[in-house]
Symmetry: C2
Subunit: 343 residues, 2 copies
């Protein structure tokens, strides 16, 4: 690999390094003629600025690092696109990495970014407890924003979705449609997100006068392929519910499919509401079903995130330091009014 440096250009153009640097950075005070000579030399040598060197002296990269737990969920790609859109609008660039649940990998990437590859980092995902990483970032005062995950004991720049409230809203919606026997299909309860939706479900049930028992839950680990298992569990229940609040759209779609195969009609026999509103990516409606779902305002979240990190990078403290967004109910055709009868 032969990459030319400013010195090479200087020699070829017959000027000093300073002059070359000035030209390359579009600064005033260089004669037109010299300027041209320099640009030609730069072109001829295929000059590429060494950002390592530049960063070393300016300590600015114009790049923000985004650390994911995994790329594998459609909602993540969706968010990535939104983040990028806003980053471009604000004149910064984003690089993403995924640590595939390996904390060691995550630490490596954070170090990489902190060590001069980026001006700040965005941490996304609630699969892991990142408090160690976060403490590190705080200790050296490196700009960062956390999305989705949160820590009661820490006051950090945070962009959140009100999962508790969203779950409550979903249950209220089903309740208002006349459903009295609602079951919650959980996600992986070791993840914050799943716990919050679980809590929201519980609270809303209590609020409407139903004491949720173990009979009101079907537990899953949230992984791809868990839907059919959950559907089986549902079918085996002695007392079949009239409605389901499912942790996310992927599981909901899987379950709908399985229930379909078992001869149940959606929403006639059972109403289903999901979470995430994945229509951007999945514009085809599996079956003829357009899933009713709690949508996350990803665009607004992305904007808030980018604004926050930029303000941190510029040395300010964002106000407020935590922003929480409300999910929005997106009606499809998988929920149906039901005349209240027994139970």
């Amino acid at each position: 690999m032969i990459i030319a440096s400013i010195l090479d250009i200087a020699r070829l153009a017959g000027v000093s390094k300073t002059t070359v640097s000035k030209v390359l950075n579009h600064q005033y005070g260089v004669r037109e003629e010299t300027r041209n000579k320099v640009w030609e030399a730069a072109k001829a040598l295929h000059y590429t600025p060494n950002i390592a060197a530049r960063t070393l002296v300016t300590s600015k990269t114009g790049v923000i690092g985004v650390v994911y737990d995994s790329f594998k969920s459609p909602i993540y790609s969706e968010l990535a696109g939104e983040l990028e859109k806003w980053a471009r609008k604000m004149g910064v660039h984003l690089v993403f990495c995924s640590c595939n649940q390996q904390q060691a990998s995550k630490i490596h990437y954070i170090q990489y970014f902190m060590g001069g590859a980026a001006d700040g980092v965005i941490l996304f995902g609630s699969a892991e407890d990142d408090s160690a990483v976060i403490e590190r970032l705080m200790a050296v005062n490196f700009p960062f924003v956390v999305i989705e995950n949160y820590y009661e004991e820490l006051q950090i720049p945070n962009v959140l979705v009100d999962n508790v409230g969203g779950a409550e809203q979903a249950v209220r919606y089903l309740h208002d449609l006349g459903h009295r026997h609602i079951v919650h299909v959980t996600g992986n309860l070791r993840h914050r997100v799943a716990v919050d939706r679980y809590l929201g479900f519980k609270q809303a049930m209590l609020a409407s006068g139903h004491e949720p028992t173990s009979d009101h839950f079907i537990y899953t680990d949230g992984s791809i392929g868990c839907g059919p298992v959950a559907a089986q569990a549902l079918l085996e229940k002695p007392d079949r519910p009239t409605a389901l609040f499912v942790f996310n759209d992927l599981i909901a779609y899987e379950m709908i499919d399985s229930l379909h195969l078992a001869g149940l009609r959606i929403p006639e026999d059972i109403s289903v509401i999901g979470f995430d509103h994945l229509v951007g990516l999945l514009s085809f409606k599996p079956g003829i079903h357009n899933l009713t779902s709690m949508g996350q305002p990803l665009g607004e979240m992305a904007r808030a995130t980018i604004e926050m990190i930029l303000s941190l990078i510029s040395g300010q403290t964002p106000e407020p330091i935590t922003q929480q967004f409300k999910p929005v109910l997106q009606e499809g055709n998988t929920c149906k009014r039901r005349e209240p009868d027994a139970s």
Copy 2:
């Protein structure tokens, strides 16, 4: 942002920079006692190596950049996961960026990587003509591998899928099932991938004695949401085909859904075969359909890519410089045997 340097550690531990560096890099020739002092000081100061400085002197980052056109396709996320898996296995790290079809953005990222943020780059996607970028990379001899896109006139490290062959295989499969009237739903024909599948379709049709006319094609731009339009075009055809070879799974699913709504049964009324085999991400089967599709061997492709880039980084020329992988037919339940009759 207060990040401690080696000098700070040296002062705190009462030793020289050199000694600190040796300890931090696990080199021999430092007394146990000194070693401990240094580690303690490093911990106390929350030391993070400045990779910009390190890169400046070693010109190695241990990181490979991956440039996408867009994150928005599920198959891209899938590939990202595979690349990462192999990268970890080989002891390197990956950072991803997407330029959202903006060539300016792409150039920025490439510069960023070339300028010391990475040891090499992987270019993915055939949405754009990257020959300018590639020439630049070749000119300075920066390690790179191109996936999916290719350039007849350039001998570059390349990982490809045999889209022509895959399309041919799909058509042969339908032909062997007895289908004689097959229509191809194209992707965006400004993309290499779409053109190749289009050519493969044509060749296979010719080979089986059918001269494809404009009647054998439905053209789309490959974007999300184009399926229903294509389905409409199909329904309006005076002479309805018995089978469809669709550019990719996403469009195929969309079409199946629309055709369903129009009262057609799949595969009884019409057989459908797609491309990409997106089951990893979409394990639920839209409707009760499990799409028959030409799968891309993403795992093998990822492995080849990582191996290639590593060999380039280590100064070797990979042999062969271009690797092409064959798609594999994945049978679902959307294609059905048909007794040859008229036409």
